[in-house]
């Protein structure tokens, strides 16, 4: 699907600065039709600026954005076939839910009965049937989020842009919405471009992830590629946790969940001895902090073992899990 699909959005050598701050610094990116692509990065990495340039809220300093083959980089937002779900939802507070959803259709001059049918259907799709006559202020955060989604999707854009839409929700609701969003995306088949700083969210939802740092794409790939083969120190640290240790003068990286811990037994072809310094119980697993003989420290995240702080332990892993950056 990914390699063979049509390119919907094509970004070439995009740059943008705000005063002295270089927000986006030479971004190239092809987004395939129907994929769920996440722009992941810390705040200030340029991911949101790229999204806002695709939407047309910001004009690039240089470079181009092609939408379905057409260069749209200088077009105003209202002439682009994309819709946005905003971080603060941006629902019109003086209109009820149905009028909010109908807004785009009304602008296009679509006649009343079709408008009504399509808006009601969009409301069903986001599981808010019967909420049409409420005002946004009467809805919870999660419900507003769904209205914002319906308001964008009802226009059947070729690309849906989502700017950290789950950021304001609490953890439980966020996890639920992640799954729902993914499901909805499969259902409607529209290309989703999703901005987040939450690496777990990115790994859960995306077909591909573009990791941003300092206005550039550091790495582009599937969640597994990004997680298992990070191309740079930045990516390995930003996506997941990484132990950095030195063995025989060689620096290696290993994810904590691949490190086994035991009082004597080894699991895998690499092992080191150390002392258990701390054990933090986090429910399904425990985080073990092990002090190694060379003075370095290593974290292991594994199901709870009968160990106590101060014990001598053996940590071990498969060398194929190591990676260099």
């Amino acid at each position: 699907m990914l390699e063979s699909g049509d390119v919907t959005v094509s970004i070439r050598n995009l740059t943008k600065s705000f005063g002295k701050v270089q927000a986006v610094n030479g971004v190239d990116l092809d987004i395939y039709s129907g994929e769920f692509l996440t722009l992941l990065g810390p705040s200030g990495s340029g991911k949101t600026t790229v999204l806002r340039m695709i939407a047309g809220f910001e004009k690039p300093d240089s470079g181009s954005i092609y939408l379905g083959g057409e260069d749209v980089s200088q077009l105003p937002p209202y002439e682009r076939d994309v819709n946005t779900v905003f971080q603060d939802y941006a629902l019109f507070p003086h209109m009820d839910v149905l009028s909010n959803i109908e807004y785009g259709l009304r602008v296009q001059g679509i006649e009343k009965t079709e408008r009504k049918v399509r808006s009601e259907k969009a409301l069903d799709q986001v599981r808010l049937t019967g909420y049409g006559d409420r005002k946004p202020a009467q809805l919870s955060g999660g419900q507003r989020q769904r209205v914002a989604l319906a308001r964008a999707l009802v226009n059947r854009p070729s690309v849906l842009l989502l700017d950290e839409p789950l950021g304001a929700l609490d953890l439980k609701l966020r996890e639920q919405m992640q799954l729902e969003l993914k499901e909805l995306q499969r259902e409607v088949g529209i290309t989703f471009v999703f901005v987040t700083h939450d690496q777990e969210e990115a790994l859960t939802m995306s077909d591909r992830i573009a990791v941003f740092d300092q206005g550039r794409i550091e790495q582009l790939g599937t969640p597994r590629e990004i997680y298992e083969n990070p191309k740079s120190a930045f990516v390995s640290e930003f996506v997941g946790q990484t132990n950095k240790i030195t063995i025989e003068g060689k620096k290696i990286n290993i994810r904590p969940e691949f490190v086994s811990i035991s009082s004597s037994a080894t699991l895998g072809d690499k092992s080191l001895e150390g002392v258990l310094r701390d054990a933090i119980f986090v429910g399904a697993t425990t985080r073990y902090l092990v002090g190694l003989e060379n003075g370095e420290a290593l974290i292991s995240i594994k199901p709870t073992e009968p160990l106590s702080v101060g014990d001598s332990v053996v940590v071990s892993w498969e060398s194929k899990r190591e990676f260099l950056v």
Binding site: A55, G56, F57, P76, P77, Y78, V82, N83, T84, F86, Q87, D88, A90, L91, F92, P93, H94, Y103, G104, V107, Q108, R151, A152, N155
Partner: protein, 286 residues
Amino acid sequence: MNNSIATWMHKRQKVRLLALLAAPGLWLVVAYLGALGALLVTAFFTIDNFTGDTIPGFNLGNFHDMVSDPAYRNVMFRTLGIALSVTLICSAIAIPMAFFMAKVAKPRNQKFLVALVLTPLWASYLVKIYAWRSMLEPGTGVIDWLLSPLGIHSPGFGGPAIIIGLSYLWLPYMILPIYAGLERLPNSLLDASGDLGARNFYTFRKVVLPLIFPSLVAGSMFTFSLSLGDYITAQIIGGKLQMLGNVVYQNFSINLPFAATIATIPITIMALYLWLVRRTGALASL
């Protein structure tokens, strides 16, 4: 000692509230409502035609005189028309200006622009109106001097001059509430409207205008009521034209009860206006 009073007060919420509200309450009841009440009561008094003394009593004669004389009706409608025109002109200028200040100008320039809008308020009312008088002076004023080559002439002293003068005077009172309303309006709403396909004018009509309506009403209460009660501007640049305020002013020394009767007109109009505004629900979101 202080401490024990504080402790004593802490337990008695009503006493605290009373102490807090005593001064503003006194001001509102005695100085403000008291004066207004005295004015309304005086409207029913009569005067002794010979001595000119005010005779207390209840008499609707003043109201009868006011309503039956077409001259006063004309003054009333003229004043109303001027106040409405000033309000419309102020909104038409203030909305784009406030929009520029709140949404287009760079954040560091915004405060500077607010200060600029406020500067005319530092100058005396009289100075500003006399300045307009010299500018509007037919033949020799700046306006004639600048615009007569283009075939445009100063309107001279009269109704249009009053409208120009009052619009100039009250414009800041319209800009500031609209600016505050626009500042509260999240930029994302404007983005969202454009994102959904709306051009700028559509966004203005369907999103901006309904959301700043309460601010517009707040501003109009200033421009409308201040124009309704004005008499100095009319005296200086109004030519022979009179507004309600002038009639009140003229009768003040010769027939105080009748002046009070005339003064009930703007009060009634403002009460009606507030009632209308209340019905639109704009006050609820103010």
